[in-house]
Amino acid sequence: MVWPVTAWWDADPFVEMQRLHREVNRLFSQASVDTEYPAVNVWSNDHEVVLTAEIPGVDPSKVELTVHEDHVTLKGVREGETLNEDVTCHRAERLTGSFVRSFRLPFDISSDQVTATSRNGILTVRLPRAEASKPKQINVTAG
């Protein structure tokens, strides 16, 4: 779904309302979209789970990622811009503060093989399945 964006926000007092309306539309148009901050997508197959989180402006080295059995926790702080005294702020819409998100995954994770990379404000975590949790096929021998 596409919303036309005509942001004459500095001229039209109703634009902020329309913006809110669009934001609400965005939330309801995909009822299954999870709206916690930060936005996280989780993908999985039989061998691993891939988690991507949108954390623009967060220093990747300061993100705290912990894995225990089938739980993964993502913790961090989004700091605001550091401003000099002579700077005036006109608009501050970007969220700041600490965040934490936890997920229970479909299987146990091999914690020493977890890798995390960051690119353009997207953190990608690859969580391989622990060998012990993989299903084993048992051959049936005819007696």
């Binding site: 942001a7 936005a39 623009p56 970007r94 353009n120």
Partner: protein, 131 residues
């Protein structure tokens, strides 16, 4: 029309439909003013620098940034928190911006725009002399 042509037409209209289906988001911005410039800070997670388009038409500055779509073939989506889309936002600029020197750079998913003020728009301190 041959089968091949039909297939091509089908594929291209599919791609167009796919592009049109991508949601357009109004990204969050911070706007700061310094003595000599305006700073616009915008969140654009998942956008490559080549996919950012900054256009200045008359007084309107429009920023369009398209999110990169990761191919996750062979995976099942378990939690959907972000739908890849296009960030788009427009601003009306004051005439006192020096258009030739506008700068943009992308750091860690955040777009930083520097809009320098023209010389004559910068505040000047006037010394008062005692007679």
């Amino acid at each position: 029309m041959t089968d091949k042509n039909q297939a091509i037409e089908k594929a291209s209209s599919g791609a167009v439909r796919e592009a049109a289906r991508r949601p357009v988001y109004e990204p969050r911005v911070d706007i700061y003013e310094k003595k000599d410039a305006l700073l616009v800070v915008m969140d654009t997670p998942g956008v490559e620098d080549k996919d950012i388009d900054i256009q200045l038409e008359q007084d309107v500055l429009t920023i369009t940034a398209e999110q990169h779509v990761e191919s996750m073939e062979g995976f099942t989506l378990m939690v959907r928190g972000a739908v890849p889309g296009v960030f788009k936002r427009s601003f009306t600029l004051n005439r006192d911006i020096d258009r030739e020197r506008i700068e943009a750079n992308l750091r860690n998913g955040v777009l930083h725009l520097v809009l320098p003020k023209t010389e004559k728009a910068q505040p000047r301190r006037i010394d008062v002399k005692a007679a």
